[in-house]
Amino acid sequence: MSRLLVEGLTVRLPRGADRDNAIENVSFSLASGEILCVVGESGSGKSVTASAVMGLLAPGLSIAAGRMALSGEDLCALSPDAWRAVRGRRIAMVFQEPMTALNPLMSVGAQIGEMWRVHLGLDAAETQRRALAALREVNLPDPEGALRAFPHELSGGQRQRVMIAMALALEPEVLICDEPTTALDVTTQAQVLALIKDLQKRHGTAVLFITHDFGVVAEIADRVAVMRLGKVVEEGTARAVLTNPQHDYTRALLAAVPGLHAPEPRALSPETVLEVRGLTKTYASRGLFRRRKPVRALDGVSMALKRGSTLAVVGESGSGKSTLARCVVGLLGSDGGEVMIGGAPLPAKRREAARRVQMVFQDPYASLNPRRRVGAQVAQGPIAAGMAAAEARAEARRLFTLVGLEAEATDRFPHEFSGGQRQRIGIARALAMKPEVLVADEPVSALDVSVQAQVLALLRDLQDRLGLSILFITHDLRVAAQLSDEVAVMRNGVVEEAGPIRSVFAAPRSDYTRSLIEAIPGRALFGA
């Protein structure tokens, strides 16, 4: 029988939005003991679907039509009080951001215990006992310690485990997971996915799993619903949808999922354009009353980038890869070692350094000044370097066409562009300085998978045409495999393994690299 039934659900957006309805005529059913993945890109309405089912629609959104039923009971007719009794107890939710989903001022034990205290009225001793059991069940390394810990003392993966323990505390009939692993490292993601699947089997919970990642779908889903612009375009069993997609959009999404196929090895130039030798960077906290242990972000890192090639630096959060990028472009000073670009150390003067190395930033929304025209932001670097203003503006227009935008777009403001277009502007801005080395710091990690593929193709194309040398920082091995010639795997500020990307992925020498490759979601389906 179906635990959760959604029929013809339509949620209206406030007037003036880009479309009338956030979701339109969405129907699905979810049986107990089943995992239904709702997949879609940003703006597809998948999160609105989840919040509608939780009765937590954002202000301004309203249900225009349709029916939702939980074990046969109509959810649309519930009063706010009745909703409160349902939420947490019968429908629970795990959120995307484990950093903000827990109250920072309450200990983990108290937060989990609150579930039983509020819903069942249990006393302190009993809630503590149950909280400990719950933390054991989600495999936290030190459950007794975690009970007393505050959220900031736990890692992201541990916090997400606490969230799952809380969500399952009252044995809900339906568990909604809204991108629960998106903010986690790939190895942690694999563990959390396995945990969700295991608990769901044991408790017979029905799980509605929201994600944008087909790799995750392949790992966990029983059935899949693909959403686009508020409509379900395809629904079916995971096997059917993944191996034999019917809708064009599903096919396009699946085709955009990067496999771990490294491109054919190319003949690399013997000339080294960027050399990092024994680079060291320590973050010391300078407090008057409390000195924390200094953190070694980079510990004797060495690597070399050949002219006209791409070197991927791969690592999980905290591996030091972003610190490395910032040291290479001179945004951060290092404590030891040296960075040689074209055989010479990076000039101390900002204006001269700009000719040597440029950077493409991670967040397409934060990396452009919202109050200035994008053309001016591209042209300002060359102007500061001494180019005539008219010439720099003409150059900016030429660069815009080069990265696949219209030349007229130089007169617009950043908010008029989509994320992928903004990242193209960021690339144009970097290219305007004609650098010897381009450092790309997670340039596609904030983009939808189809847009990701386009930006990667653009970088590859630009490399062929302009002979760019790219230092490509990423946490995603699949992305690294798309355009890199060589790879360096970093962990805790040390290069674990480096070499041509094909041989590293085919036969990793280090255990850590192997665990990273094994943790890639959907590896069985999308190929290793």
Partner: protein, 277 residues
């Protein structure tokens, strides 16, 4: 444009703008409405408002026309408010921007200086400045500006602290742009909205400070300011209270107008609030 529309839709902003425009008309048209010297003797002293049709708001203890002083005073109060606010905002932004952008020792030095100003009650400091440098219009205005900048500096610094690490600022650094460009072209335009809103508070306080000085008869006695008029009415407060009350109401309305404009600006410039309206 969007901010302008949001501003025009806010009722408080419209009321505030109307009050300020009325005051501007009063101030600018003062010489046209009352071409004679407002401080010159006009008639019998202490005539109640309405008692003599020549003086609709009555006369003060020296026999001067209160209405004329009110109109000319609007010019003085707005001028002092505007100039003093400009001085405070310029000093505050300069110090806050440098402190927030560079951080470290420069920040520490500038912030200790700011705190030194903040720990003194600013009216006392103003009294000292006026006592030392005299009480002409110019010195009073500059002195008010000099005691009003610390909150502006703190606000600007806080904005700069969070903006300077943004990726678009780092991108400009990597492009090889100088600090002056980063501060003036990249960070400052993004830091301005809350500072502009706060400037309305500074302006209201500046007008009040001048009135308070004048009430103590420490402001320039040779200009027809509202504060002077209140000060003149002090001795006859129990019998002819209107002498102080009329300019008092004028100050009240001015502050109300400035505050409403400030609130309207806040609603218009704050993107989160603007979206929900």
């Amino acid at each position: 444009m969007r901010a302008l529309k949001a501003y025009a839709r806010s009722p408080s902003a419209l009321i505030g703008s109307a009050i300020l425009i009325a005051l501007l008309v009063m101030g600018l048209g003062a010489s046209w409405f009352y071409p004679n010297d407002p401080l010159g003797l006009a008639g019998r002293p202490l005539q109640w408002p309405g008692a003599n049709p020549r003086f609709p708001l009555g006369t003060d203890p020296s026999g001067r026309d209160i209405a004329a002083q009110l109109f000319h005073g609007a010019r003085i109060s707005l001028l002092i408010g505007f100039v003093a606010t400009s001085i405070a905002v310029v000093i505050g932004i300069a110090i806050g921007a440098v402190a927030g952008f560079y951080g470290g020792a420069i920040d520490t030095a500038l912030m200790r200086l700011t705190e030194a100003f903040q720990t003194l009650p600013n009216f006392l400091l103003l009294l000292v400045l006026v006592a030392v440098f005299g009480s002409t219009m110019e010195t009073v205005t500059v002195a008010i500006g000099l005691v009003s900048w610390p909150p502006v500096a703190r606000l600007t610094r806080a904005e700069f602290l969070s903006l300077r690490t943004r990726e678009f600022v780092q991108a400009c650094r990597v492009q090889g742009l100088g600090d002056a460009h980063l501060i003036l072209r990249e960070v400052l335009p993004n830091a301005l909205p809350p500072v502009i809103v706060y400037a309305s508070v500074v302006m209201a306080v500046a007008i009040l400070l001048e009135s308070a000085l004048a009430f103590l008869q420490l402001s320039d006695p040779n200009v027809p300011s509202w504060g002077n008029l209140i000060g003149l009415g002090r001795n006859v407060l129990r019998t002819e209270w209107y002498v102080s009350a009329i300019p008092g109401v004028a100050i009240l309305l001015t502050i109300l107008g400035v505050s409403l404009v400030g609130q309207g600006l806040n609603d218009a410039l704050n993107p989160r609030l603007a979206g929900s309206r």
